[in-house]
Subunit: 373 residues, 2 copies
Amino acid sequence: MGSGFAFECLARDDAARTGRIDTPHGSIETPTFMPVATRGAVRGLDVRDLEGIGSQILLANAYHLHERPGEAVIQNLGGLHGFTGWRGPWLTDSGGYQVTSLADRAVVDEQGVTFRSPLDGMARNLTPEKCIAVQEALGSDIAMVLDECRPLSDDLAAPRANMERTLRWAERCAKARQRSEQALFGIVQGGVSPELRRESARETADIGFDGYAHGGLGLGESREVRAALLTETHSALPEARPRYLMGIGRPQDLLDAVARGVDLFDCVVPTRNGRHGIVFTSRGVLNLRNAKFREDSAPIEADCDCPVCPRTSRAYLRHLFHAGESLGGRLASLHNLRFYLRLLERSREAIREQRFAQLVAEWEGNVRESESP
Amino acid sequence: MGSGFAFECLARDDAARTGRIDTPHGSIETPTFMPVATRGAVRGLDVRDLEGIGSQILLANAYHLHERPGEAVIQNLGGLHGFTGWRGPWLTDSGGYQVTSLADRAVVDEQGVTFRSPLDGMARNLTPEKCIAVQEALGSDIAMVLDECRPLSDDLAAPRANMERTLRWAERCAKARQRSEQALFGIVQGGVSPELRRESARETADIGFDGYAHGGLGLGESREVRAALLTETHSALPEARPRYLMGIGRPQDLLDAVARGVDLFDCVVPTRNGRHGIVFTSRGVLNLRNAKFREDSAPIEADCDCPVCPRTSRAYLRHLFHAGESLGGRLASLHNLRFYLRLLERSREAIREQRFAQLVAEWEGNVRESESP
């Protein structure tokens, strides 16, 4: 177990919960959203920007940082905290998802994954043991096990095989740990089968981790199916450990998952959409490139407390996107990330006050009223 | 004359001078540098960033904004100040330089310039009268006349012809003015001929403008030639008006020109170089992509008061540039702009204290000692 790591649940509202995670680099109020800094930087945003919008913890990708600049460089510069200047908590994803599901000509066998590096075309391999060594060198507060993640397929045996291999890899990851101050989370797999995911959760919990993640979701399943899978999985996980839904999603996906008791989220949606001019409001999304914003002097959203809305009109943002000025993507990303972080701040408050269902109903009412952008 | 516009010289040190320009949107201490916001935005930087590094006045390009989003849109949203959120002074360049020297298949005749828009390929024309109307609609605090600017050529008659046409256009610009609160600056032309530039200055001053700019420099002339041209020109301009050296240059170019009595500067060098990983220090330039910075935990410069240096290592910046993260260019631009603004803050202080020559000597000593990056 990570020696500087603890989780305490502070309030519940039905299955939703709010709590606090302590790490060696500070505490996090949950549920919360982790901005994605794949290569050690959130696209276009610096540490002061991230502090200014209330970020608590960032996520980096161990595989990408292993490729460039290499974990030794980062370790020599004081780990992710010293290297990037973000002194708060860091979570590192193992990169298993990128390598096993996306890499060109990856070969997965029991030992690990062999693939060609997109950087230099040379063969690389990633094993559970190496994945832990890289994350320990990066010095993140929370590391993730290496899991095998495959897209939904017609091969009915695949989800069980992936799930069982992920379990064996999880055991090897747990054995490979050398730094007691770093927490390690296991990952539940099992495709869209409630039985498989419950079995995966139970056996992952038997190995014993500091927290547990839902892997392999967001690959096309419906909201209802995902909600049921979360509930099934949570029934087989220890209440006293944090739960993390990996890589998902839109605001309504976060509310759905908070309602089932998820504590941590990450997703590229707010920053990627922001770079393309898609921004979130409590009444739905807006496409800032739209002609109707040409002379719109209103901010993205009137009562927004992000750094952008008090001083920036939709018309100016539209101009920046049409003129190819990267400032547009930066400002839209800042707004979107603040929107996500604030949604989870409001969720925590609502859970403490036993009115989370009301917050969700208000959210859905607002979005239902919205015009399409 | 611009009714809300005034210039006062507050101290002199040899030919160098420091003073204050009052505009309808606030005062500017001179000499100063104007960050370039061609399309209404400094690349990658927002209004809070620009305030944070001590910017006093921004420069936009009237031609680019006329093309997109159009001056009517900006006027309807409160002019440049309302549209961009930068509430301090704005100077607009006419765009004459872009149109007459760079545009594809531009035809310049006495009436004005006809050219094909790079946006839609359609024919456009720009006349002195239209140039003033556009800038008045944009609502800048300082507008520039339309001038004819041509690259150095073998045609010995060209500098005189350009200079004389610029004078005729300047008269038309002065007559076309309708908004008394906007200042208008004339532009001195005449190539690298001291006689032509002095004649241009004298006749431009006879028309009478709120300030005077050096146009058509930075096109290959030596430091010594440029310094002599500045001195010649200033001898024919009224002392009581501000002087602006357009589009130049490196830090040593600014010091050279301050020494001859220039008050205002703009240049894309700090932001363009920043985007390419070239940063300025008091000991010379660094190329942040260089392998020697791979594990360099030092900031760009140890005693720098920019927002970047206190929290950011050269190693991290190098990583951002190699990983293709736009944050690298943003941070390097912020550092470089602060470096320029600070250099002119120090120049103002040195002029007040009658030690500007000493500042220049220290600068040159430091840079001479520097290792090449």
